[in-house]
Assembly symmetry: C2
Homo-oligomer: 636 residues x 2
């Protein structure tokens, strides 16, 4: 038995009441999701669902990568429906529902009699379906549409889209597999595996789980499917634009992989699906592979913000410890998907290591992709800028926009888990739920101003006294945590990052938890050569950065933080609707007396200056300027 | 009168006797030049001079930049002849001369009846000559062939190649200009301007100087020639692959330019030609433009090695203070050309600032392009490596190979200058010359082990007592210089980097100069964000680097130099045939107790370790490994 015994409490059963996530959630519900629909219409993605009849002659403007942008448009539609579905689960909205139903009309018309459904292929080159899994995203699109269908069904009970997608999945199941006449293919961009597990959990139809397991286990086997498929098309497999099957993690069978390589989002979706399958199939070997990959990525390839993938050319990984700051790709989607994976690992084993990374990704690398106003985005999330970076209102590949909105819309689902005899809090910040244990309903009301403060209060309110274990995550960064029940200190002996209070709970019980939240200096492993002599600041789960808006007078790269300078946390009501800033007496490096010289035998002069840092996820929401996460340490 | 009054003593009148340059010169003469001829033959460049008759149908494998590599092959031939010509001026060699004469035979056959000479166009598409000056290097090739012809004529007195080139220049002169029926064109890659000034100096034919001045002054004028030329070809001028005319410095008239932009080698050749023209034409406005550009490049855009151009995509400049180390392009040719320019600026104004940069380029950014064995090269000269950089035996664009060999073969020409009443030493290290002043022959014999030691001895040996000024460069890095004449201390009051000893010199007079050469720490201007918290080491004119070969135990990026650690110079007979190394008690940064973690709240542990640095130009001559010029400063 490898399951941790805990299952997530779905976000629909968790009320997000705390100020931090409530604000982000409101912005996503009221601004991001509606504006994303408008953008999908404006740029022609919704229009692409209305197929031309008859199909016009084939003229495809393929780009250097051999595909057009449009081949993944279905996925953007699916991801938007998923985010909107989550929003509807929290708050019904006839206008949004009408918009989704209109999309469903188009999809119904676009679907082939045999169930196949891909608007690019059905509208342009129906004869070429399933001929280029490597590049053309058909299975990826199916996965996202399926996730959208499941979310919309769960929110509204309307199953027309789900029916369409189940027919499509039936078709996919008939097409792919190891049986006679079947193609031994698998996705070029992993994603459908996750969606199939969700469908299995919704319907209990075991075939969906088996198909997901097939895609994972077939991946990377000899003979290599993408090679055979290229030959069948008449293409030279050696002319693969990405140069290596590491790009999509099909360079070797999945269970043999020990390092995370290639495209970061594909890798994270694959790892998430593997964790799902390890859970559902009680598959110890798959769990072990997940653990090996987890160790690799978190100890050698992860930015301090939980950003993943330093390199633009493959949107992915390079070498251990290669984590350049200014050119960091660190795609928003990759951090979102890291949160997915971490959440799944946590349910294979209730270990705070996973929760720590999940929280790091949520508050930093993922959240930085969404602007304060909810309508501007980062695709790449560098850790340093000269001021050249701007949030954009849309992107030619808009995957990140809907990824961050579906994450935030379902944020409550990452906070709490249940077992037969317990409940576990992974996140704090105002999450509330009601659950039933031993026949009694128990209301849990967690409150506080986390992540600004580590003071957490949990009101435990059973209808009648009830015995259960309350597991509280003690973050890896917290030292000297104290707790009390009804004012009486309790001694905590956290194991694997969770403290357990197992007692007979009575109505009105109150647990208080005090997670000390001093600002900490972080140092990178010295093999991260870019960060030698540099320091980052973390307070609680938040990574901070220096922005020029708060530190006028020159590029923030010329600021330095003495190793011994105290760093103070200062609440600022006037900034970002309230934010904890960090300040320290630091230095501004200035040219010496020989001011005009490029090189000097005297070190730069150091002028005393107050440094102000703000949470990384908030950067680039004000006037453009320089930014830096890893500041120089002053030499005195 | 803007001329400095000094003219270079040609390298043919300077004997290179000192150990440092003698060794490099011998290697270039005996190994680089012969092996370069073999490579030119092996890769088909010499074969390309034998034109097919009749001209075959046009099928041109153009690359993404719109040209084939072959369009610049003529220039490689010209540059090799120039380097070989310099070698022959020092030491005749019938074998090399026969090889050059064979090339001249081919060029004679390739030349059109009207004088036009370009092996690519004449052999492939004669009807398209002069239709794409922007990209296709015709004038650039002509310039290099002309420089080769001049060098070969000066060395041997054989004027067949020179005649061929003079006929070609006559044709170019008839083709380009502001007269009726002439094209108002100018080179896409500057170079011919320099060659034309050399031809003027050889022949006194003023038309050559006027043509050079025309090319410089026409450049960047409206209407833009490259735009009109593209339209005439039927091309879209807006589809220019380099995106901006800044790439070849034709974005505005030359005299209006205040910043060095674009392709570094083009910019340096242009600036060198401008300095030549300012000198020959006594043109104060052109001199002023040169000074403005000089200030820009040396105070905001030059690597500490005198490397130029951080960016690969344009082989050139980006923004002030943008000087990344590992990705530095810093093409060898650009540093060679910077030495050219500095040498010319020095003769507009005898100012040590120019000599300092010239020397820096010679000993560092240019010399690093040539391996110890004389047959391997660097095109790009990064200031940091993970060990991925290897010297190559040849390059698809072999410009740098012959550029460094022509520089080293003529190194004596950078050492000494003459005026009517004086002689100036710019370089030290064993340069000897004999000159005539006031009717008397004077022999000058400078000796010492510079750059390893700053102790310089100059024997001044006039046939009969002679009055003249001996000007000795006092490098900008030298502090507390002392000098003596015949053992008697003389007080030096250097002006603009030169100390003057004006006296009646007698046979057997000896001047000794002591340039203290302590190791200095260098710090970059804090706007160079890559080098904040970093330090470089310089001793005399040499920039040093840490190489893994001398510092085993991990990447050199994990080494740190405490600000207060003494740095010692240690002569090593066993290394590189004798070299001054630098050693210091430094630190190796190691992961702390939580060794496996990527980020830690404790700074990396620092282990005491002896750091050993070697001159930058010698890097990558041993087993591959990491390298770094700018080391972290240790924080204690």
């Amino acid at each position: 038995m490898i399951k941790g015994g805990y299952s997530p409490v779905p976000f629909t059963d968790v009320r997000v009441a705390g100020p931090f996530w409530r604000e982000r959630l409101e912005v996503v519900l009221s601004r991001s999701i509606p504006s994303q629909h408008a953008k999908l219409a404006e740029v022609g993605i919704l229009g692409s669902l209305k197929l031309p009849k008859p199909v016009p002659p084939l003229t495809i403007p393929r780009n250097a990568h051999g595909f057009t942008m449009q081949v993944f448009w279905d996925s953007d539609v699916g991801k938007w429906i998923e985010a909107a579905g989550y929003a509807l689960a929290l708050r019904r909205d006839p206008d949004i529902e009408a918009k989704i139903d209109a999309i469903v009309d188009d999809l119904a018309k676009a679907q082939s009699p045999d169930g196949y459904l891909n608007c690019w292929y059905n509208g342009r080159e129906p004869e070429n379906r399933w001929t280029n899994l490597r590049d053309n995203h058909e299975l990826y699109n199916a996965g996202h549409l399926l996730e959208g269908a499941i979310a919309y069904f769960r929110a509204t009970g309307r199953r027309r889209l789900l029916d369409i997608l189940e027919r499509y999945i039936d078709h996919i199941e008939a097409t792919f597999g190891t049986g006679p006449g079947q193609k031994r293919g698998y996705p070029g961009h992993q994603e459908i595996e996750l969606a199939l597990v969700k469908l299995y959990r919704l319907t209990g139809d075991r075939r969906r789980l088996d198909l997901a397991a097939y895609f994972i286990d077939q991946r990377g086997r000899e003979p290599r499917y993408f090679t055979e498929e290229a030959l069948a098309r008449g293409d030279d497999p050696g002319a693969y634009w990405a140069k290596t099957y590491e790009y999509n993690q099909s360079h070797m069978p999945v269970r043999e992989q020990t390092r995370i390589v290639g495209h970061a989002v594909r890798g994270m979706y694959m790892a998430s699906a593997m964790a799902d399958l390890a859970f559902e199939l009680d598959d110890a070997s798959l769990k072990k592979t997940c653990e090996t990959l987890w160790r690799d990525v978190t100890t050698t390839q992860m930015y301090v913000t939980a950003g993943l993938g330093p390199e633009e050319s493959n949107e992915g990984f390079t070498r251990p410890y290669d984590l350049p700051n200014e050119t960091a790709y660190a795609e928003t989607c990759a951090s979102v998907a890291l949160a997915f994976w971490a959440h799944r690992m946590l349910h294979l084993e209730l270990d705070g290591r996973y929760a720590d990374v999940m929280e790091l990704a949520l508050y930093n690398g993922a959240l930085s992709g969404l602007s304060r106003d909810g309508t501007h985005y980062f695709y790449a999330n560098p850790l340093e800028s000269r001021g050249q970076h701007r949030r954009w209102a849309w992107h030619i590949c808009p995957c990140c926009t809907m990824n961050v909105s579906r994450l935030v819309a379902s944020i409550g689902g990452y906070a709490i888990s249940r077992s037969d005899d317990g409940v576990a809090f992974h996140l704090y910040g105002g999450f509330e739920t009601t659950f039933s244990i031993g026949g009694a309903n128990v209301s849990l009301r967690e409150s506080g101003t986390y992540p600004w403060s580590g003071d957490v209060r949990i009101e435990v309110d059973p209808e009648a006294p009830a015995q259960f274990a309350l597991k509280l995550r003690i973050p890896g960064w917290a030292e000297g945590t104290e707790a009390a029940v009804n004012g009486e200190p309790v001694s905590l002996a956290p194991k694997c990052g969770y403290a357990t209070i197992n007692r007979l709970w009575s109505p009105g019980d109150v647990v208080t938890l005090r997670l000390p939240m001093p600002t900490k200096r972080l140092y990178a492993h010295p093999n991260v050569r870019m960060n030698i002599g540099r320091v980052a600041l973390r307070r609680g789960p938040l990574i901070y950065c220096l922005e020029e808006a708060d530190n006028p007078g020159g590029p923030v790269q010329t600021l330095a933080l003495p190793r011994v300078a105290p760093v103070d946390a200062n609440w600022r009501d006037d900034l970002f609707g309230g934010v904890m800033t960090l300040t320290a007496e630091g230095k501004r490096l200035l040219p010496g007396d020989d001011a005009g010289r490029l090189y000097s035998t005297t070190p730069p002069a150091a002028q005393d200056v107050t440094l102000t840092a703000v949470p990384y996820h908030l950067w680039a929401n004000r006037e453009p300027g320089s930014m830096q996460v890893w500041a120089a340490e002053a030499i005195e």
